[in-house]
């Protein structure tokens, strides 16, 4: 039997968290919260391939950076760095002007 009172402090000792990890102590600085399953550090794909210039003519490349409806995917999801995201946005908008990319893809609902 544990000493009296110890049960009440949820952050003490290992194994004190329930399987869900969502108790009052579950949101600690450890980051154990809702997104426990998948927290992989995404790196900027343009930095990885050492691209300095994002070409609006590279349709295939840009297509991967927009959603099925044609929206620009935010960098918080893709992991693109700020510098490249800024360039990417310009490139996508140029490509849209030339009808290489859709403004809105209505075929997908």
């Amino acid at each position: 039997m544990p000493p009296f009172g110890q049960r009440r402090t949820p952050t003490s000792g290992p194994g004190s968290r329930g399987p869900g990890g969502r108790g009052p102590g579950g949101r600690g600085p450890g980051g154990r919260g809702r997104n426990q399953q998948q927290r992989k550090k995404r790196t900027c794909r343009f930095c990885d391939s050492k691209e300095d210039y994002i070409d609006y003519k590279n349709e295939k490349r840009l297509q991967r950076c927009v959603s099925e409806q044609g929206r620009i995917i935010p960098k918080r999801i893709t992991g693109t760095c700020s510098r490249h995201q800024r360039q990417l946005v310009v490139a996508i908008k140029r490509a849209r002007h030339l009808a290489l990319l859709p403004f809105l893809n209505e075929a997908v609902s």
Binding site: E51, D52, Y53, D55, Y56, K57, N58, E59, K60, R61, G70, R94, R96, H97, L98, A99, L100, L101, P102, F103, L104, N105
Partner: protein, 135 residues
């Protein structure tokens, strides 16, 4: 003193319902305009007919041409004016290329390749399979 020249790139879309010689004529006019204004052509790539992502002037495809040239800065407004006046040019874009862009933009062949949408794979030659079966 000679005017400062810069490298520019222009992509424009020509009405695809024209015949090839007519399309060439439209492109040639643009070329002429650049050269006459003291420009120097660096790259001239025909992407060819491509489907639009959305209709432009009730059309679903157009003929894309990419040009790269070095010319003094006043070419841009002249070029834009020309494009606006030419009815067969559906869309255009003129962009100045900076040092970084010049180093790593798509050029020549590599430019055409990513633009091409799914080149049909050559059908498997039945001849290759036949001798294997006979054995």
């Amino acid at each position: 003193m000679a005017a400062k020249s810069k490298v520019y790139e222009t992509t424009f879309i020509i009405n695809a319902s024209l015949d090839d010689p007519q399309i060439d004529a439209v492109a040639e006019k643009v070329k002429d305009l650049i050269v006459k204004n003291g420009g120097e052509m660096m790259e001239f790539v025909k992407w060819g007919r491509k489907r639009f992502a959305y209709p432009i002037k009730k059309r679903n495809n157009g003929f894309y041409i990419v040009m790269e040239f070095r010319a003094p800065g006043d070419i841009v407004s002249k070029l834009e004016r020309h494009f606006h006046l030419d009815e067969n040019v559906l869309r255009f874009i003129v962009i100045g290329l900076d040092k970084v862009a010049l180093k790593s933009r798509l050029t020549g062949e590599s430019l055409i390749k990513p633009a091409m949408t799914s080149t049909p794979m050559p059908a498997e030659a039945p001849a290759a399979e036949a001798p294997a079966k006979s054995e």
